[in-house]
């Protein structure tokens, strides 16, 4: 590529941005060459999404300059001009949930029919053509709220490209995707790159950076640290640039003591079924044990977790430390000793308008004072402890969670799960969107919390999460099909998850 001659597709110099007292970005620099896939990495709260906001014209920078192909950025209000230059799949979903795919694709630019009125037929047809042109296997009539994360992203990318932009920003597109979907996404990105599309790719999964990116920019503490070709920056060097010290990452859980076979069972599932998702699962978690549940998106693992937490109707029996838990009621599960971390924080993880303290203590609101009173002092005290324990990057316990960066919001959701001092933790994708170091501390927290007292059921398709587990069970088509003790072989596990292992269905 002779990108050195052509001006960079986008160039940001000295970008600064504050939100009230928080400096989200102090010195953001970025230069993306035509045709490359450029990675942007950094710890949670480093300012990545803020820079994305500035690059897409959503935020106005307090200082600094953005240039597209050498020319100054359009005026802040000129949305059409911005959308021609840059498209973005944001960290939080940006489709209108109640509209169909077709309506979302042509939002604000619906094709007109006779008399200048909207024409549903043409809308459908053109949407179908567009989806086909970008090879997105989704029906235009589907409601946006029924899309899977993968489909939603593809629709957003297709919509963005159809606006004429040839520079696409992907803010943590893989955080909510399973392995197969990530591979499909990467194939798609490579195809599009061949066709001349430039990408800015944000992810906390460093192997992905090496897989599809040519150059990488690292941010730390709101500042630009380094930009280099990925080939010149080893994994360790990259991590060092992100966390600012040379200490390597440790494998959490490698030294966990083995669980004795007569340890008390904190969680026992017998014949648990969820209509439409889970057939009949028998499973138990002992005190001091972390049991991983792996499986594809269609395996029903997530629904199983939701049923244990009381969010879904179920059949069969769930016992926590021997006591039967009433089905379908979250308060019953909570009282019985289940701590739950939902799989998609943006859906049911937190209340964005409420403070860190309130979100983190939501499950124990009854224990923060006498007779149902909530004493702010007690609440903030508890919250401060949790903020320190989980290393949440926030201005303080009173900051609304909606203002936190994605990974820090995730830590607050984790705090909420731990707050009720549960017997068993049910965690779904606990490290989604969390940076490498925080992942270590989050999994470290799970490890530490379950050493002697509790047990944990860790539902995830991230191998890093599953490595912490004492054993991993694999679900396919709503059933448990296999079990692997610590030290499992990666290829075998993945094969079984994808349903092509010996016991596949």
């Amino acid at each position: 590529m002779d990108g050195a001659q052509a001006p960079p597709v986008v160039e940001a110099v000295g970008i600064a941005k504050r939100f009230g007292p928080t400096v989200a970005l102090a010195d953001g620099n970025l230069s993306v060459r035509a045709g490359e896939t450029h990675a942007l990495v950094g710890r949670n709260g480093a300012g990545k999404s803020t820079l994305v906001g500035v690059l897409t014209g959503l935020h106005r920078a307090d200082a600094g300059e953005v240039r597209f192909a050498g020319k100054p950025a359009p005026a802040p209000g000129d949305r059409a001009a911005w959308r021609e230059r840059v498209a973005c799949v944001y960290q939080r979903p940006s489709v209108v949930r109640e509209l169909t795919v077709a309506e979302n694709l042509f939002l604000g630019r619906q094709p007109r029919g006779r008399f200048g009125l909207l024409s549903p037929g043409r809308l459908r047809r053109e949407a179908a053509e567009l989806l086909e042109a970008w090879a997105v296997p989704v029906s235009p009539d589907l409601a946006a709220r029924d899309l899977t994360v993968e489909q939603r992203q593809l629709v957003e990318i297709a919509g963005a490209l159809s606006l004429g932009a040839r520079f696409v920003i992907l803010d943590e597109p893989t955080a909510q995707l399973e392995a197969k979907a990530i591979n499909r996404l990467f194939d798609r990105l490579r195809d599009l790159q061949q066709q001349g599309v430039t990408f800015l790719f944000i992810s906390h999964h460093l192997p992905e950076i090496y897989e599809i990116c040519q150059r990488v920019t690292v941010f730390r503490d709101a500042r630009h640290i380094v930009t280099a070709p990925v080939a010149e920056l080893s994994h360790d060097k990259l991590v060092e640039a992100m966390i600012g010290e040379a200490r390597g990452l440790v494998q959490v859980g490698a030294d966990r003591p083995s669980v004795s076979a007569d340890a008390e069972k904190v969680l026992e599932l017998s014949g648990v079924g969820v209509p439409g998702f889970v057939e009949s699962v028998d499973l138990s978690v002992r005190r001091g044990e972390i049991v991983g549940v792996a499986g594809s998106a269609a395996s029903g693992k997530r629904q199983l977790a939701e049923a244990i937490a009381g969010l879904r109707a179920r059949s069969g029996e769930v016992r926590v430390t021997g006591r039967v838990i009433k089905a379908g009621q979250v308060p019953a599960a909570l009282r019985g000793g289940v701590g739950y971390l939902p799989g998609d924080r943006n859906v049911d993880g937190f209340v964005p308008g409420l403070s860190v303290a309130e979100n983190a203590t939501m499950t124990i609101a009854g224990k923060l004072g006498p007779r149902g009173f909530v004493l702010p002092k007690v609440r903030d005290g508890r919250a401060n402890t949790m903020i320190a324990d989980l290393d949440v990057h926030t201005a303080g316990p009173h900051q609304p969670v909606g203002e936190l960066s994605g990974g820090n919001a995730q830590k607050v959701v984790m705090a909420r799960a731990l707050a009720s001092d549960p017997e068993v933790l049910v965690l779904v994708q606990p490290t989604a969107g969390v940076d490498v170091r925080s992942k270590e501390s989050l999994l470290g927290a799970v490890d530490e919390q379950t050493r002697s007292r509790r047990g944990a059921l860790l539902v995830s398709d991230e191998l890093d999460d599953l490595r912490v587990c004492d054993r991993v069970v694999v679900m396919v088509g709503g059933r448990v099909v296999g079990e692997h003790p610590r030290g499992w072989n990666e290829a075998e596990l993945v094969a079984e998850i994808e349903g092509i292992g010996e016991s596949g269905v």
Binding site: P21, T227, V351, G353, E358, R416
Partner: protein, 357 residues
Amino acid sequence: MSPVSESTTVSTEVPTEPEAPARPTPLTGRPANRLRLAKLRDLALIPPIIALLVYGYTLKPDIFLTHSYLVDSVLKYQAVLAMVVLAEALVLIVGKFDLSLESIVGIAPAVAIFLVVGNTSVLGAPWPTWTVLPVALVFGGLIGVFNGLLIVRFKLSAFIVTLAMLIFLRGLQLTLVGGSTISNLAKRVPVIDYLGNVRILTLPLSIWIVVVLFAVGIVVLGYTRVGRSLYAVGGNPDAARAAGIRVERVIWMTLVVAGLLAALAGLMMSAQLASVAANQGEGMIFMVFAAAVIGGISLDGGKGSLFGALCGVVLLGLIRSVLTLAQVAPDQIEAVYGLVILVALVLARLTSGKAQD
């Protein structure tokens, strides 16, 4: 290709070094600052209220700032509105709508008083006069229960359900009161006399009720688990449910409480006039929403404070009386009032710095 040089040059050509050297450290943050900011938002309406008081004083120095004028001409008439705003604020915070409150203001006292003094023998009427208060409250509460049934159980839109309820109750009241007015209630129904005449420390009982209920509401919403759960449910019901809050129950309970408060407001209104008009409460819901929104309650749910809502009520009352004092012609006063409310909304939006979608 010179990627190495680029990696360094990019960082050095910063035009102006931003003044903030480092971000606030995570823990030592500034909770105090935050708190002050949140409080400030609550107090956003205090300056305009003071401004109106001053303006009113310059208009009529001899009467405006006197106790009797402020109490008997401004606040007393806002008491009913304040009660309904309290009710609506709770419903809005929990993320729902209740348009039927204004019809409860009319129907609840109408039913209760009709059973006592009406010219009828249904249900064993006439009932003893002490039943007026409990019957009105129960009636208001039952309407809340029924609204809740449709909204929570049958998952119907709160807007449509309560709109239909509003129309239905209006019709019911017309049938009951018969197009005329149940009048001359003085000295016949004790609770009406109390609400209308009793004064404590020179303030009418109705004002005390408003003050006490708002105080209770502020404490409950701010410092109890049930109160906080209203904000959680209004802010994100899914997250509230996953955190163990009984979302449906909270919504239902709020609708019932709102019905009770509206019924009490209705009795207060009847007491002021010693009668129940066929159209008692009609059109009030617009003022209720105006006051709540000016006071910072979000129509999206999960946001706002009762103190703010109360300020909204006081502000509207002052605007109206200042307009009267300024001798705006009676046939223009509504139009001017509407305009002033629009201006107040814009100001409230600007001073609070938050969008109020």
